[in-house]
């Protein structure tokens, strides 16, 4: 007891049971709950007090034996504390005392009574706290009902289960922590099975790795085909050497923290504003046209898109998953437009591409006439590159529809050159 008194912080209640043979032959079971707690609303305000309540119940079959609420004190300190507790209980809630009286009458269900006592000791202590504490109490009650007295730890079942696993061998195969960041992305290029050098095929993935390269961040690109392997459920994601992951939400912020300051172009306020506008242009208009080309041009969908995204599955899964994915794309497109109108989508994409061509100018290597790429370059290049490297479909039904977006880009000589230059400079090596 003495060492308990010195503790100030709150800790799990320790419940002890011990039987004691009374002079009249009956056996009294004593229950002692020891709990250290800081009490706020009482005469002993903010004084760390160790509480000890001793409730006794009888296990004898002789019903005449009355419960004595408190046994004769084992130690004098204990008695003092019991007095304190009783005072506090009376101050706090009358219901508490009522329940305690209930315990004094012996009823048929002894265990339930004890549960209540346990519960009420807890609730009286934590009455000011809200639901989480209550739910903890509930949990404890449940635990009690399952495991019986003394909580879960003492129950034979628990002790039995705690032995498992019997032996713990070291993991045969731990995944080595990456030395540098790894970008998992749809990255196997357009032809299925094509080996490195890889290029991302999904536009926003493309902008990821392009953006990383432009910012001078070293990373390794690993092809992945299963979006659910990412913590956010979406590819791409970045696995860092410290074991954490960066998904699309925190990507921008992470790059800003880790980038090589000299790698990218400095944009002044107006240029930054314009970059935001043009990125938004590419991500809405060109993105829609690209999605349409990939998923809704039948020639393209059957020949390449389906194979690329789901070709690694069995053929039946490939068919089912690709149709599911297509309907998902359709839904996502319909969020921002009332119908998927091919003509309008391509008209807008053409005007967007024209706007980009005008903004780029004829002679510039990068946007805004800089000598280094900026975030706008990353986005625009990845879209242009994906569009220009789409495999060409030659068949009669298609009649050039699947290549329309690429031909729109090719009309603008400077955009075509721009894309070629960046590819050669940053990726082809």
């Amino acid at each position: 007891m003495a060492d308990h008194e010195e503790q100030v912080t709150e800790f799990e209640p320790v419940v002890e049971f011990f039987d004691e043979v009374q002079p009249d032959g009956s056996i009294k079971r004593k229950k002692k709950t020891i709990r250290t707690k800081r009490i706020l609303k009482s005469t002993t305000v903010a004084v760390p007090v160790e509480r000890t309540t001793t409730t006794t119940t009888t296990t004898t079959s002789r019903g005449s034996s009355e419960l004595s609420q408190h046994q004769e004190p084992i130690e004098s300190t204990e008695a003092r504390e019991i007095m304190e507790i009783r005072e506090i209980k009376e101050i706090k809630e009358s219901e508490e005392t009522k329940k305690t009286e209930e315990t004094e009458d012996v009823t048929e269900s002894q265990k339930v009574k004890e549960t209540k006592v346990v519960e009420h000791i807890q609730s009286s202590e934590k009455g000011t706290n809200a639901g989480s504490e209550e739910s903890r109490g509930m949990k404890r009650t449940l635990e009690y009902r399952i495991f019986g007295e003394g909580g879960s730890k003492d129950h034979p079942l628990f002790r039995f289960l705690a032995k498992f696993p019997l032996k713990q061998s070291p993991a045969p195969h731990t995944r080595p922590r990456p030395v540098k960041a790894i970008l998992y992305a749809y990255a196997s290029g357009w032809k299925v099975g094509q080996e490195a050098p890889t290029e991302s095929t999904q536009p926003n993935v493309g902008s990821f790795d392009t953006y990383l390269k432009f910012n001078g961040i070293e990373f390794e690109l690993k092809p992945a085909l299963e979006p659910s392997m990412s913590p956010s459920g979406k590819l791409p994601f970045l696995a860092l050497s410290n074991g954490s992951f960066v998904t699309s939400d925190g990507f921008e912020a992470w790059v800003q923290e880790n980038k090589d300051e000299t790698a990218t172009a400095e944009l002044d306020l107006h240029e930054a504003a314009e970059a935001v506008a043009f990125i938004s242009l590419a991500e809405s208009k060109i993105h829609a046209a690209l999605l349409y080309t990939l998923w809704f041009e039948p020639a393209h969908f059957y020949a390449t898109t389906r194979q690329h995204y789901y070709g690694h599955h069995k053929w039946l899964l490939t068919v089912i998953l690709s149709y599911l994915a297509r309907s998902e794309v359709a839904h996502s497109m319909l969020l921002t437009r009332t119908q998927i109108d091919r003509e309008l989508i391509f008209e807008e994409a053409a005007s967007a591409i024209e706007a980009l061509a005008t903004q780029l100018g004829d002679m510039n290597e990068y946007f805004f006439g800089k000598s280094k790429p900026s975030s706008l370059d990353a986005v625009v290049f990845s879209y242009l590159h994906v569009i220009l490297t789409l495999p060409r479909i030659r068949n009669a039904d298609d009649a050039g529809r699947s290549g329309e977006l690429a031909s729109i880009v090719r009309k603008h000589e400077n955009l075509y050159k721009y894309s070629q230059n960046i590819w050669k400079k940053w990726f082809a090596a």
Binding site: A273, L281, T358
Partner: protein, 355 residues
């Protein structure tokens, strides 16, 4: 040009509740003063594109001569082809910038409005639902606002997981992303505007029409939870001044609000003109060939082919249904053909013979 613009009706002291419609009104007031009339039709389902393809329900819609054009971007490109171009003075670079900024407005500003009006529970039940249900007629009044909310919430869900249609509590604390996004967008526009009267100098352009429309529906309505308004007023006073200026400029002489000039095939209702309505609803394709809409010229033959297939399928389905019903009736003896009299006769015969 005497054309008609079909829009959602006004609310909150603005000519129209819908940003797209407001943009269209602004654009028309830039390019042509008093040469058009406004029809408040309020029901996107009646637009002609809505009757031909099932998914399109779109206002504003322009009726010019024999042409019906739906959708802001389509109308603007149609008008600029027919000589009402607000952007003709712009250089190529400015035009490119205009395209980019209007894309930004279409994305971010539109999302901000959808979030503020629909995803924010307090605003939706406190203001938006009421405003919209004042516009609609009886049955759709109780259905459409909720439907609009559903689609709006689906669109803005990408900004936070706590944006759901069922969330009762206010969504302000958890969804800082949309406010950051809106703030970024306002900042970009604010920088672009600078100290100029309009985005590209002294004359308003199509970009002004759009941006003003989106800002106006964010700024002027009185709503219970005006987070975006506070952002605008406290941090971007220049944009607020710009909005006031544009409001003066564009809505100074509002055009007349009229009824449709010709009894449009799309605007008949079953009570006032039951015969017309019946004909238009069930024999739509034969009566409206004269005033076909032009949104996509080369898709027309394809559409009619699809329609023909659809009609054929409908006939098949109806025939099948009737035959199946008749078969069921006969098999189960609900209807007996021809045998009844004979049986009666037989019974009578039996009876008479037994007697």
């Amino acid at each position: 040009m005497v054309s008609e613009l079909y829009i959602y009706g006004g609310a909150y002291g603005l000519p129209s509740i819908d940003a797209q419609c407001l943009a269209m009104i602004s654009y028309l007031s830039i390019v042509s003063h008093q040469e058009y009339t406004i029809v408040e039709c309020n029901d996107p389902a009646v637009s002609p594109s809505g009757t031909t393809t099932k998914t399109t329900r779109q206002l504003p819609m322009l009726h010019d001569g024999n042409n019906w054009i739906a959708g802001t971007n389509r109308i603007i490109s149609y008008l600029s082809k027919t000589g009402y171009n607000a952007d003709e003075d712009l250089s190529a670079e400015d035009l490119a910038k205009s395209v980019a900024y209007s894309a930004l407005a279409d994305e971010s500003l539109a999302d901000a409005i959808l979030f503020s009006w629909f995803a924010d529970t307090e605003n939706f039940f406190g203001a938006t639902r009421k405003a919209y249900s004042n516009l609609f007629s009886f049955p759709s009044r109780y259905i459409l606002p909720t439907q609009m909310r559903k689609s709006a919430v689906r669109r803005v869900q990408k900004y936070g997981h706590s944006v759901t249609i069922d969330s009762e509590k206010s969504t302000n604390e958890e969804n800082t992303r949309i406010y950051d996004l809106a703030r970024d967008c306002y900042r970009v526009l604010d920088r672009k505007l600078g100290d100029k009267d309009f985005f590209f100098g002294l004359k308003p352009t199509s970009l002004d029409a759009k941006v003003f429309a989106y800002l106006a529906v964010q700024l002027y309505p009185e709503i219970p939870n005006p987070q975006f308004q506070l952002i605008l007023i406290n941090q971007f006073p220049r944009l607020v001044a710009y909005c006031d200026r544009c409001r003066e400029e564009f809505f100074a002489n509002p055009p007349d609000i009229t009824l449709p000039s010709e009894p449009s095939p799309f605007f008949t209702n079953p009570i006032s003109a039951p015969r017309e309505w019946f004909r238009n609803t069930f024999f739509f394709h034969s009566t409206t060939s004269s005033s076909r809409y032009v949104s996509s010229g080369n898709e027309k033959p394809k559409k009619t082919k699809e329609d023909r297939e659809f009609d054929l399928k409908r006939i098949y389905a109806i025939t099948f249904g009737v035959v199946a019903m008749a078969t069921y009736a006969i098999v189960n003896g609900l209807v007996a053909i021809g045998n009844e009299e004979e049986e009666d006769e037989r019974e009578e015969h039996k009876r008479s013979s037994s007697e």
